[in-house]
């Protein structure tokens, strides 16, 4: 089929790459200034493992074409909207334009985070009787595993009430249904709500386990033991139950923020708002532990960060705890040495040149002369370091483990002081 994808961020590129790979002829239409930008300079592409190669490959094969809206209209069977949450008016004018150009058999797939009821709003400007339809498909985007999430989903929800649109959409997504465990058709409004509900639930779980860990710290119990006990209960399960120094990421944060707004305006309810604001506080947890360890005086100290991306497997630093930690440390006149296997370039872009901030390509050189090591992102290469080497390089053998990946008792044998999250 001929598919046109509209958008410029990760979800747009992933959709374009995967749809092209399945044999569709795909055009991706982004902002004017992006069409000629080299792919490796687009951070959404660069930060996601495997995506750059995939896109380059599909472009080379002629399956994927980059375009912008000044290009003359080219025919497409399906129009795929993957715009940013703040591009609602752009979506509206685009849909109006398409409706004029394609009076019959117009299929639009909406994957944007515009809120509950928005797909219906777009649909209301179209003529369903002439098979002009908008289908909402919530994204399965998990940064770091985005390609897999698109091409081998376990769950798919299709939000539409048009039989024609459903048939067309099914044929488009057929290649991705091998691993499917659950496919459900519902109204677009319900599908939008479901996406919010899932994201909100995950955020609340993370917020809850983080709060439990902080309480465990105060009560002198080990959160690992507690969550083992909790996870054994089938009503709870073990997923999304790891405490840490805060969650981040662009997509996840955007959905939660929007859902939180919905709760607040419709229900005057601050449940999700609290989760968000507590998460911001959680991002500074390692700083607070360090602050207390050094009796409220960090002036002139050197601190190492292992990991800067918001989670392993991506170079993205969107809403990452590392950003807040680095800012807090710099404000106390601390020399900050950061290692990350992927995200250093993004950190350099974000902070610019600051003499107190050193970006290190080797985790051990980042730890040299350090007064504390903060483990911020649990990249696999950090799980089992050379402890003797590490202890000898550091000024003070202090480890603040923001992801609970180290065995505290073992570390203590090597002479480290180790503080985790909730243990």
């Amino acid at each position: 089929m001929n598919v046109k994808v509209y958008g410029a961020d990760l979800s747009a590129w992933v959709a374009a790459a995967c749809l092209a790979r399945s044999g569709n002829q795909v055009i991706i239409e982004g902002p004017d200034d992006q069409r000629d930008k080299p792919l490796e300079e687009i951070s959404a592409i660069r930060d996601e493992p495997g995506l750059l190669d995939q896109i380059a490959d599909q472009i080379a094969k002629g399956q994927l074409l980059r375009s912008n809206h000044n290009d003359p209209h080219s025919h497409a069977d399906i129009h795929w909207l993957a715009l940013q949450p703040n591009e609602q008016s752009k979506a509206e004018s685009l849909v109006q334009k398409l409706a004029r150009e394609i009076p019959q058999n117009l299929l639009i797939i909406n994957q944007c985070n515009f809120g509950v009821g928005y797909t219906d709003q777009l649909q209301s400007t179209l003529d369903l009787e002439k098979d002009q339809a908008v289908v909402y498909i919530p994204d399965n985007l998990q940064e770091g595993k985005a390609l897999q999430g698109f091409s081998q989903p376990k769950r798919i929800i299709l939000g539409t009430e048009s039989q024609w649109a459903l048939t067309m959409t099914r044929s488009l997504i057929r290649p991705y249904l091998q691993n499917i465990e659950h496919l459900q058709v519902m109204t677009a409004r319900e599908a939008e709500f479901t996406k919010f509900a899932v994201t909100g639930m995950l955020a609340i779980r993370l917020g809850y386990i983080n709060e439990l860990a902080n309480l465990a710290d105060e009560m002198n119990v080990d959160i690992d033991v507690i969550r083992d006990g909790m996870g054994a209960d089938p009503r709870i399960g073990r997923h999304y139950l790891s405490p840490g120094c805060g969650f981040g990421g662009q997509n996840f944060s955007n959905y939660i923020a929007r859902f939180s707004d919905l709760f607040e305006t419709q229900r005057k309810n601050s449940l999700l708002k609290t989760v968000i604001s507590e998460n911001e506080i959680q991002k500074e947890l390692l700083f607070r532990k360090l602050w207390k360890h050094y009796q409220c005086n960090l002036n002139g100290k050197t601190v190492t960060l292992w990991g800067a991306s918001f989670k392993p497997g991506t170079a993205s630093i969107d809403n990452a705890p590392s950003l807040k930690l680095i800012e807090a440390l710099l404000a106390q006149n601390v020399t900050v040495k950061v290692h990350d296997p992927e995200a250093l370039e993004n950190i350099r872009e974000y902070f610019g040149d600051i003499s107190l901030l050193q970006l290190c390509h080797d985790p051990y050189s980042a730890a040299t002369h350090s007064d504390a090591l903060m483990l911020v992102t649990e990249w696999p290469e950090y799980w089992s370091p050379d402890y003797n080497k590490l202890a000898s390089l550091m000024n003070t053998p202090l480890i603040l483990d923001g992801r609970n990946i180290f065995d505290r008792e073992a570390l203590e044998l090597y002479g480290f002081t180790c503080k985790g999250i909730g243990r």
Binding site: R288, W291, E327, A331
Partner: protein, 545 residues
């Protein structure tokens, strides 16, 4: 020769016997140009004196009086840093505090302008650190609440301005709460401490001398609260939870505030003239440093006007002389401050201190008792609320009262129509009241038929000060207008407006009584004081039983 024996004064006395007989309604009737003739504009302020019981000749005679008193030179002397506070041997340089950077003002061998801006730059640094959420409490949390501990000038000015200009706070600093604590009995502080989180609370202890007992008593309670909540040594608490704003750094260190947490001002900044200095830290925290700067700039605009404009169009001079006329020649000894804008709710309290502490004096610069009245009794309230409280007395009581009506012409421009209507309602009331006070029930056609208890005799003079809108600039200018008015009056009355010896003795007597609740009452105590102490002692004994 004392001023009240001077020719200019005598001429005014004589003139008053004529004016006294004229009702304001007749002055308006006989002169349709009154508003044009008696209203003046400068630095965002419109000053309408047409509802004052004056004629063109009155103004001429008042300006003669100011010339006779050497006002122009006295104004220049204040700006130049000459000793205008002889009892404490100091200049009064609050105008230097609002001078933009790069101007020059040297007093002796001191570069005052450079010092002022060095001090403000230090404050700006702390303010930014707090706004960036990078000032940390004992557990590493960023500061969320700031409590300004101070009294008098270290409290009233910042409190008033925070309330007046709070809406100008940029979005990113709005989560910061600013509180004010002044009362020595601890009642404000005790209520506040119940609600605050110690780890994210910062105290600004503002005291010029750092010996003010009211302030230190509150600061000690705050310190104890923090130590108790944190289990952290006192040095760490004072380092991370206290900023001292003072002209006495050694005393602040003695109390426990390290030098790097101190902001300095100078003995030439009078307490009630100090919010333009680092005493205004709470203001900068509330509205942002840039807006604080705008506030200073507004005052600076009024300063330049005061310095340059001739008496005949000089707002502070005209306002001062008009009140001199009321006080000394029309024998009016009460002055009501009536803002028609809820944001100015603390303006009356602020002006009570500014005016009554400055000019509430009866000894002149030569050390002699004056034979004329000085500062009247000043009080006030947000106008629309006062209408339901003391306006009855203004309209039908036996006392002559002069009133200041203060309001912005525009408000709520980018907000709902209903709110704009509310402002219009307030303005309509403002104008109605000043009109009725001036003209009485002559505004009605058939007033004469009413029984006496329903009549309004009018002839109560008032000033209306209208701002274009309430902004940091216009508010700064408004306050500077009052400051300078107070100075002009002191020049006419030949008194020192910058000292306050009348507040000293009470502190000493209190100190001497402090121990008598627990011990013997000294023999020379008067029977009333002794009786009251005995009552307290008895209540204490009974409560212990």
């Amino acid at each position: 020769m004392a001023v009240n024996n001077s020719p200019a004064w005598k001429a005014l006395q004589f003139h008053a016997t004529d004016l006294e007989r004229q009702h304001l309604k007749d002055l308006f009737l006989n002169n349709p140009e009154r508003f044009d003739q008696f209203s003046f504009s400068a630095a965002h302020c419109l000053l309408d004196l047409s509802k004052q019981r004056m004629s063109a000749q009155t103004l001429d005679l008042l300006i003669n009086l100011s010339d006779q008193q050497g006002l122009r030179q006295k104004i220049q002397a204040m700006f130049d840093g000459e000793i205008v506070n002889p009892s404490e041997d100091r200049p009064a340089l609050h105008t230097a505090l609002r001078q933009p950077a790069g101007e020059t003002l040297n007093v002796g061998d001191q570069d005052i302008n450079a010092e002022v801006h060095r001090s403000l730059a230090e404050m700006e640094k702390l303010v930014q650190q707090i706004h960036n959420q990078q000032w940390r409490g004992f557990d590493g949390s960023p500061i969320k609440s700031v409590v300004n501990i101070g009294v008098g000038g270290s409290d009233l000015g910042p409190l008033m301005t925070c309330r007046a200009l709070g809406q100008f706070a940029p979005e990113h600093i709005r989560s910061l709460d600013i509180h004010f604590v002044s009362s020595m009995d601890g009642s404000q502080l005790a209520r506040l401490l119940n609600k605050l989180n110690p780890a994210s609370t910062l105290f600004i202890v503002s005291s010029k001398s750092f010996t003010t007992i009211d302030t230190l008593a509150n600061a000690n309670t705050a310190l104890e609260w923090l130590i108790h909540a944190s289990d952290v040594p006192q040095e760490i608490i004072t380092q991370h939870h206290f900023i001292g704003v003072t002209a006495s750094p050694a005393k602040a260190v003695e109390w426990g505030i390290p030098e790097q947490n101190q902001l300095r001002f100078w003995d030439w900044t009078g307490g009630r003239y100090s919010m333009w200095s680092v005493i205004g830290m709470a203001i900068a925290l509330q509205i942002g440093y840039d807006n604080f700067r705008r506030f200073l700039n507004g005052a600076w605009e009024m300063d330049r006007h005061f310095l340059a404009a001739e008496a005949r169009s000089n707002l502070p001079v005209l306002l001062a002389l008009t009140e001199i006329w009321n006080i000394n020649f029309l024998n009016i000894h009460a002055h009501a401050i009536l803002p028609y804008d809820g944001r100015l709710e603390y303006l009356p309290a602020y002006l009570e201190q500014l005016e009554m502490e400055s000019n509430g004096k009866s000894v002149n610069l030569d050390g002699e008792y004056v034979a004329h009245s000085t500062c009247p009794i000043l009080w006030g309230e947000v106008g629309p609320n006062a209408q339901h409280a003391f306006y009855q007395l203004l309209h039908q009581g036996t006392e002559a009262v002069m009133c200041d009506f203060i309001a912005p012409a525009l408000r709520y421009e980018d907000q709902s129509e209903e709110l704009q209507k509310q402002h219009q309602l307030a303005l309509a009331n403002c104008l109605a009241q000043s009109r009725l006070l001036a003209l009485g029930d002559s505004v009605l056609d058939d007033a004469g038929d009413a029984p006496a208890h329903k009549r309004y005799r009018g002839n109560q003079p008032s000033t209306t000060i209208m701002l274009d809108r309430l902004t940091p600039e216009s508010f700064g200018a408004l306050i500077a207008l009052y400051e300078h008015k107070v100075y002009v009056q002191s020049v006419i009355w030949e008194i020192n407006p910058f000292d306050q010896w009348g507040v000293e003795l009470g502190k000493k007597v209190a100190t001497s009584l402090m121990s008598s609740f627990d011990n013997e009452i000294p023999e020379d105590t008067d029977s009333s004081t002794e009786g009251l102490i005995r009552y307290v002692q008895q209540q204490r004994r009974e409560s212990k039983q």
